[in-house]
């Protein structure tokens, strides 16, 4: 089991449209700031179990935990540049993706 260093959120892709989604307290959210944050290894394991359940239920695919930091407003932001990209959209097309208000952001 990997060491638990940072708080984590669960990221996935929505099966039907491929959009990036985050597990929130009542289902999958299109806005990462509404993601449920795991602050302990057990909580992360619990998130993963929910992810597995929703893979089996054919709601989401490509599910994994991503490290985040918690901002002053209490909302999580991914630490790695790859996931930073995923919560926004292509850096070369600021007019597209979540950063442009598509999806729910």
């Amino acid at each position: 089991m990997p060491v638990f260093k940072h708080p984590q959120i669960l990221i996935a892709s929505n099966l039907t449209d491929g959009e990036v989604v985050f597990l929130g307290s009542s289902g999958w959210e299109r806005d990462h700031r509404r993601a449920r944050v795991a602050r302990k290894a057990e909580e992360a394991t619990a998130l993963e179990a929910l992810g597995k359940r929703d893979i089996s239920a054919n709601h989401v695919v490509d599910v994994y935990l991503a490290d985040v930091e918690i901002g002053s407003d209490g909302a999580p932001t991914p630490l790695h540049y790859r996931e930073k990209m995923r919560v926004k959209g292509p850096s070369v097309r600021l007019d597209l993706g979540k950063q442009a208000g598509e999806g729910a952001l």
């Binding site: 039907t16 790859r82 990209m85």
Partner: protein, 574 residues
């Protein structure tokens, strides 16, 4: 009268410069769409798990990327009709976000389709005789060819009938759809290789023997990716009637003995490397000898039937040079630059081949908006028999334009921001999507291309530098061909940051070579500086008529390395 003739007769305006489906092709593609629609339904219902569905969606060009699904549409041997180009534009508007990305393997990628919409997209493609079959997956991929096919003065034979012949043969092949890994075939029929055949799983070069008969030199085991290899000759002269049998023999050897224990070692290049080309050649020859070749016996009629579609368009007989063109060049310097850089010799007097660059300064290499696609379609109809090509440099080609029409064409392109005069120059950069779209990426590549392009935005400086291939990949998979860039750039991750490794001396043509590493990785901000230093050093050292790669080959890698080291010590910011 055959079924084929009937279909073409129904469309008197259809240009004949590319293959047209007959009733069998049309039925096959629509069955493929119906099958995929069912596969999507079964995926949604859970009859197929994601693991089971993945190979089937990939075999239809559907990936899951960073932000959305991605659909890769085949443009077989890079040839498109105006009608097909318009359809690509319409699909971009209706089901995507108004643009598409032309790739190095003569495909078009849509970055935002929904899974549930893809069957409709495929149906719309089928309507214009297009598909996404085998644009991904561990099968025989879209067969590519020289983008100047049929019009290049240095051609022995148009490679497209061969490519079409192979496209059909490889479609949903019973035996070779679950190979150890993907399998890419490229064909060229010219003296100069514009299809990068030496870095494909199989490269075919059409050759003539001493008796004047046409055959194929067959090269196997080239590839890029994390371990780049130049292909090796497995058959020196394979007569046309044996081509399918010979390829089938290679594929069978690969299917049986290619490694499946490690996906990074599963390509045929690794098999060839580990066993040696002699052992592979022996195995292929033994398999070939054991086959009942009468089954494959290629019918000349079938080849002729296909070849007839690629007959030359009705050219006019024109003087070799155009007075109109000469006058327009004198009058409009920007046009003169365009002609000098983007226009090439055509085998027919009075005609020219025009490269439309999809690399505007600071733009996204290979991207075209739906409006631009429509302009290109219109331009091809007005000035080029309604035919377009996609090059592996991610540009669009109008293959037959009257020299007299060049100025009018240029004006039309210029109005649509499509007249960048940089074909083959330092800002004509090949770049993969990188981390802006790709889920496998370790770093971004498009912003690097944009920064270099902006650094060299002075077009007269670019022309002074001359031919220079800059190629960028966002990870070791090398989709941006960085190994064969005269300057190659590979995006990696180093300590949680994007980092770029630079190589020099790559060459994708018959004189193929794999680039050598320049030194430790640099940051994104440093890349344009490094490229600029390298280019300045080349300019200082080059002899008359030398391109960057020639100077590098003459004076050697070490000297270029030294330059950077010296610059670094001087405190320059690299």
């Amino acid at each position: 009268m055959t079924a084929v003739d009937l279909r073409v007769a129904q469309r008197p305006n259809a240009p004949m410069t590319t293959y047209r489906y007959d009733e069998y092709d049309a039925a096959f593609v629509s069955e493929r769409v119906a099958e995929f629609r069912e596969q999507v339904n079964r995926r949604l219902s859970g009859a197929l798990t994601e693991e089971e569905f993945r190979p089937f969606r990939l075999m239809n060009g559907l990936y899951l990327q960073l932000h959305a699904y991605m659909l890769r549409v085949a443009i077989p041997y890079g040839t498109l009709t105006a009608r097909q180009m318009r359809r690509l534009a319409d699909i971009a508007d209706k089901w995507d976000k108004g643009y598409g990305h032309f790739t190095t393997r003569q495909n078009l990628q849509y970055n935002w389709p929904k899974l549930v919409d893809t069957p409709d997209i495929l149906e719309s493609l089928a309507d214009v005789e297009m598909h996404a079959i085998q644009t991904s997956g561990n099968c025989i991929r879209n067969v590519t060819a020289d983008h100047f096919a049929g019009v290049a003065p240095d051609e022995i034979e148009d490679p497209r009938p061969t490519a079409e012949f192979l496209r059909q043969w490889s479609s949903l092949h019973s035996e070779f759809s679950f190979l150890p890994r993907k399998f890419k075939i490229a064909v060229t029929g010219a003296e100069h290789d514009r299809a990068a055949i030496l870095v494909h799983d199989i490269g075919l070069r059409i050759v003539k023997n001493d008796e004047g008969e046409i055959g194929y030199q067959v090269v196997v085991g080239g590839g890029l990716g994390r371990s780049p290899f130049i292909g090796k000759v497995v058959g020196d002269f394979v007569p046309r009637e044996d081509l399918l049998a010979f390829l089938e023999a290679i594929l069978r050897v690969y299917n049986r003995f290619g490694r499946r224990d490690n996906k990074y070692k599963a390509r045929v290049k690794i098999l060839v490397h580990e066993k040696g080309i002699d052992e592979i050649r022996a195995a292929v020859e033994a398999e070939f000898a054991a086959m009942d070749r009468s089954v494959f016996a290629h019918d000349p009629e079938e080849f002729e039937r296909i070849a007839a579609f690629f007959a030359p368009p009705p050219y006019e007989s024109l003087p070799a040079t155009s007075a109109l063109l000469r006058a327009a060049k004198l009058e409009t310097p920007a046009f003169a630059n365009f002609v000098d850089v983007n226009v090439g010799a055509h085998k027919i007097p009075g005609y020219a081949i025009v490269t439309v660059s999809l690399k505007p300064i600071g733009g996204v290499p290979g991207d075209a908006t739906s409006d631009q696609m429509r302009v290109l379609a219109d331009a091809s109809e007005r000035f080029g028999f309604g035919e377009l090509r996609v090059s592996h440099e991610q540009n669009i080609i109008l293959p037959h334009v009257r020299q007299d029409d060049l100025f009018a064409l240029w004006s039309m392109l210029d109005a649509a921001s499509l007249a960048t005069a940089n074909a083959g120059l330092v800002s004509d950069i090949i770049s993969c999507p990188g981390l802006d779209y790709c889920s496998l990426a370790t770093a971004r590549s498009i912003p690097i291309a944009q920064a270099i392009s902006k650094r060299f935005s002075d077009m007269s400086r670019q022309r002074r530098i001359g031919k220079l291939g800059v190629k960028i990949s966002g990870c070791i998979n090398a989709c941006g061909h960085h190994h064969v860039g005269a300057i190659g750039i590979l995006g990696l991750e180093k300590k949680g940051q994007e980092s770029y490794q630079i190589t020099l001396g790559g060459d994708p043509t018959f004189s193929a070579s794999i680039g050598e590493i320049l030194g430790p990785g640099v940051t994104a901000e440093q890349v344009p500086d490094v490229v600029e230093h390298l280019v300045d050093y080349y300019l200082a050292e080059r002899e008359e008529g030398e391109a960057f790669i020639d100077t590098w080959r003459r004076i050697g890698h070490a000297r270029f390395k030294d330059v950077l080291r010296r610059e670094g010590e001087d405190g320059a910011d690299i």
